[in-house]
Every structure is written in structure tokens, then in C-alpha cells.
């Protein structure tokens, strides 16, 4: 903390105890490791599909419309506009996932702006191999290297994480 009147100055320094410093460093190191994990998309169901009861209600509604001549017979079905068909998940639960749409959007971005996506991906581990090409440039006077290739060895498999 600095301050004082004209021509003067005051500095206040707070320092943590020495025994805390290893833990703080450890936490920072762990944060550094977690930082490179990257985005982990959710591929499970997002929206519950319509169930047979709802389909029956839809069918009844369409049938009423057909009976009263409001829509041509047989040309509208409850499943219309409901593609793709829902996916069956554990326990028989049926639903829709945004995972494929997400993949498609990322692929589209990679196709249109490959450089940006490449730079983005290099910030994180390879989601398939677990390798990590470190392009991080540490701030000066931290003693770390920068711009080199460091790898997070075997994110998958051994579960060990370490920089080389």
C-alpha cells in the first residue's frame, strides 16, 4: 500500500507466513494443470422427448382437424417436424442431445476460421490424445520457459499429470 502527502511516500507490505507458501504454490500449480483441460462438452440428453401419451394427444388433435376438414387426411402426422428421432438413453429414457449440433458448430467454425480454432485448441490438451502443446508465454521473472513444447503426459490412461 502506498500513499502520503506531497513529496512523501508510504509503503505497506503484507506477507503470508512461510509455511503457507508451499500450499499456495501447489494450488497455483494445480490451477495451471486444470486450466489446460479445456472445454468438456456434454453429450447426454438435453431435452426429454415426447412420450406416447403426448403423441396420442397430438394424433387426436390432428384427427379432429381432419374430421372437420381443416387439414387434408393423412398428410399431417404427430411425428412430422420432429426429426431426428429421439435417442434412447439409460433406463429407456428418450430425449434429444445438443451434442451433435455442438460438434457440427465447432466443425463449421474450424472450416471457416481454422487458424483461430487451431490457436484455441493449442491452449488446451488434445481431447483425443491428451497431449498438450504449450504455447503459453509466462510473464517475465517467473523462471518458466515459454513458447516451447511441454506435454501433459498421459492424461488418459495413467491419470498422471506432469509437465516435461
Amino acid at each position: 500500500m502506498g500513499g502520503g502527502g506531497k513529496g512523501g511516500s508510504r509503503t505497506q507490505t503484507n506477507d503470508i507466513p512461510e509455511w503457507v507458501k508451499p500450499y499456495a504454490k501447489e494450488n497455483l500449480e494445480r490451477a495451471k494443470q486444470a486450466q489446460v483441460l479445456g472445454y468438456r462438452p456434454y453429450y447426454g440428453p438435453d431435452v426429454a422427448a415426447f412420450n406416447p401419451t403426448q403423441m396420442a394427444a397430438f394424433g387426436s388433435n390432428i384427427n379432429a382437424a381432419e374430421a372437420f376438414g381443416l387439414v387434408p387426411r393423412g398428410q399431417v402426422s404427430p411425428l412430422q417436424d420432429m426429426a431426428p428421432t429421439p435417442t434412447t438413453y439409460a433406463g429407456g429414457l428418450q430425449g434429444y442431445s445438443s451434442g451433435n449440433l455442438f460438434d457440427q458448430a465447432v466443425a463449421e467454425l474450424a472450416a471457416r476460421r481454422p487458424g483461430q480454432v487451431s490457436a484455441y485448441n493449442k491452449l488446451f490438451v488434445d481431447p483425443y490424445s491428451g497431449n498438450y502443446e504449450n504455447l503459453y508465454v509466462p510473464p517475465p521473472n517467473t523462471g518458466g520457459g515459454g513458447g516451447g513444447t511441454s506435454q501433459v503426459t498421459r492424461f488418459h490412461g495413467t491419470g498422471q499429470i506432469g509437465y516435461t
Partner: protein
């Protein structure tokens, strides 16, 4: 298709639609009903011959024969009476026969006319009765037609009501299905949301785990070492000087100082110096005070009211007044 008939139960939507259609047709037919005209029969234009008794002439002839036979018997009696009185063929006999003949003729005429009049009256009454019957029949037929039309309209109305009821029932059932389905879907969506939340917790675990150590460190009593270093600013020093000077006045006399160097100017334009105390200064204890400030002899030239002379003969400056200037 969910709306198709199942188990022999007609599809309520189809039935309702057909009912509405049928009710509409019935109503249209009812609206088109035109009652037939009732025409009153007239006796004047009625041919009474079919109503005449076909045996009237036979009755009249039989009646005339009876009268004539009675007349013959009367003539025979008159002849027998005249023969007994030996007056047969006489004038009295002739007069009696003539009187009998006139009575018989009169009886024949009256009897025939009466019988014919009775027959005509009977035919007329039969015709009138027939006209009345036809009138009643026409009225009944018209009434029946109207009643039938009203019945058809009522039936169409009932059909429409039943169709509307059926449609409403169908709609109610459909809404119930929708609500039930939405409840079921809600349960499934809740499961999905719970799974997503768990997944979110799983992927956030690395970041979340960082907080454990941080929270533990924060919860642990941890005295910090606080070090303050600083150098007083010019105004800080002058404030101090002013505080001291307010008590005892400042030794600003130039005769108590050595190594005097100007280090700047105050906002009011006065020169600011630093110095070292000389022997005289140290002798009177001036070295206990800061060796920075103004020179009394300079201030005395511009603001003599700020300067006073002490009992020891040295000049002193009231610094609190210096601050009030400028």
C-alpha cells in the same frame, strides 16, 4: 392413428363431425319445409248424385203401389156400399169415388214429394259430412307434416348438441392426455436436468477442488507480517513544524543555522530551506526540532506579523500563519 376407431367404439371426432354435418342437413331441410294448402270444399259445387239413395225410386213406387192398392180397396168398399144401397153408379157414388180419387192423388203427391225431399236432404247431409271429413283430413295432414318437420328440426338440434358434447369430450380427453404427457415428460426432463447437473459437477471438479485448499487457508488463522516504510512529505514535515511551533515557536533565526540550502518554495512563494544547527542552535536546544523550514529574517521582510522575537533575543516564525497565506 390415435383417432381411429378402436374396439368398436366410434371415433368421437369423426362422429362429432358427421353429427354436425347431419344436423346441418336436417336444419336445412327443416328450413325448407312448406306446409300444403288446405282447401275448403263447397256444397254448391258438389255433385250430390253419388250421395243419393239408389233405392229412393223403388221406395216411392212401393209406397205408390200401397196407396193405389188402398185406393182400390176404398173404391171396392164404395162400390159395395153403393150396390147395397142400390145407388151404385149414382151421383153420390160418383162423388164419393171422385173424392177418393182426389185424396189418393193428393196422398200420392205428398208422399212422393216427402220421400224425394228426405232423400235429397240425406244426400246433402252426406255430402256436407264428406266435405267436413276431407277438410279435417287435410288439416290433419298439414298438421302432421308440420309436426314431422318440427320433429326433424328437434332431432337435428339434438344431434348437433350430442355432436358438440362429443367434440367437447374429445377435446377434454385430448387435453387430459396432453397434461398427463406433460407430467410424464416433466419427470423425464427433471431426470435429464439432474444428470446434466451431475455432469456439470464432474467436469467442474478440477476447478472446484482448487477451492478446498484456498478455503482451508482462508479459514486458518494466519497472521500476516505487515511492514510499513515511508518518508515524510514536505507538507507532513511542515505540519509537524507548525504543530511544534504552535507550542513554542520555531527557531527560524538564521543565526542558529549553518549549511543552509534552498530546497524549494512554498505555495505562498516563500523560500524553503534545509540546514544544520550550529553551536548556538544546539546550545539552546534547537537541534531537537526539524532542520527544515523558512528563515525568519526573510519572512520578516515580507510578513513581519509572522515573526516574533523570543526572550533569548532570537527570531521565531509562527508556521501556522505561514500556511494561511497563499
Amino acid at each position: 392413428m390415435a383417432g381411429a376407431p378402436q374396439g368398436g367404439i366410434p371415433n368421437v371426432n369423426e362422429a362429432a363431425a358427421q353429427g354436425v354435418y347431419g344436423a346441418g342437413l336436417g336444419s336445412i331441410a327443416g328450413m325448407g319445409y312448406r306446409p300444403g294448402q288446405v282447401r275448403a270444399g263447397q256444397l254448391a259445387t258438389t255433385d250430390l248424385s253419388p250421395y243419393m239413395n239408389p233405392y229412393t225410386e223403388q221406395v216411392i213406387q212401393a209406397n205408390e203401389a200401397d196407396i193405389l192398392r188402398g185406393a182400390q180397396m176404398g173404391l171396392n168398399n164404395l162400390g159395395a156400399q153403393a150396390q147395397a144401397a142400390r145407388a151404385f153408379g149414382g151421383s153420390r157414388h160418383g162423388i164419393a169415388e171422385a173424392e177418393l180419387g182426389r185424396n189418393v192423388a193428393q196422398q200420392l203427391a205428398q208422399s212422393s214429394a216427402g220421400l224425394r225431399q228426405a232423400g235429397y236432404t240425406q244426400a246433402q247431409q252426406a255430402a256436407l259430412s264428406d266435405i267436413a271429413n276431407r277438410m279435417a283430413a287435410q288439416q290433419y295432414n298439414v298438421g302432421s307434416g308440420l309436426q314431422g318437420a318440427q320433429q326433424r328440426l328437434a332431432a337435428a338440434n339434438q344431434l348437433a348438441n350430442i355432436s358438440n358434447l362429443g367434440f367437447g369430450m374429445g377435446q377434454t380427453v385430448q387435453q387430459n392426455l396432453m397434461q398427463q404427457g406433460a407430467l410424464q415428460q416433466g419427470v423425464q426432463q427433471a431426470l435429464i436436468d439432474a444428470a446434466k447437473a451431475q455432469y456439470g459437477g464432474y467436469v467442474a471438479a478440477p476447478e472446484t477442488s482448487l477451492n478446498y485448499l484456498s478455503n482451508a487457508l482462508q479459514a486458518t488463522p494466519m497472521p500476516t507480517t505487515q511492514t510499513q516504510t515511508g518518508s515524510p512529505g514536505l507538507f507532513n514535515m511542515l505540519s509537524t513544524i507548525a504543530g511544534i511551533g504552535a507550542q513554542a515557536g520555531m527557531f527560524s533565526d538564521v543565526r542558529l543555522k549553518k549549511d543552509i540550502k534552498q530546497i524549494g518554495k512554498l505555495p505562498n512563494g516563500m523560500n524553503l530551506y534545509k540546514w544544520a544547527w550550529n553551536k548556538l542552535g544546539k546550545a539552546i536546544g534547537a537541534d531537537k526540532f526539524p532542520a527544515i523550514g523558512v528563515l525568519a529574517q526573510e519572512v520578516q521582510k515580507t510578513n513581519p506579523e509572522f515573526v516574533v522575537k523570543g526572550d533569548d533575543g532570537y527570531l521565531r516564525v509562527n508556521y501556522s500563519k505561514i500556511y494561511s497565506v497563499g
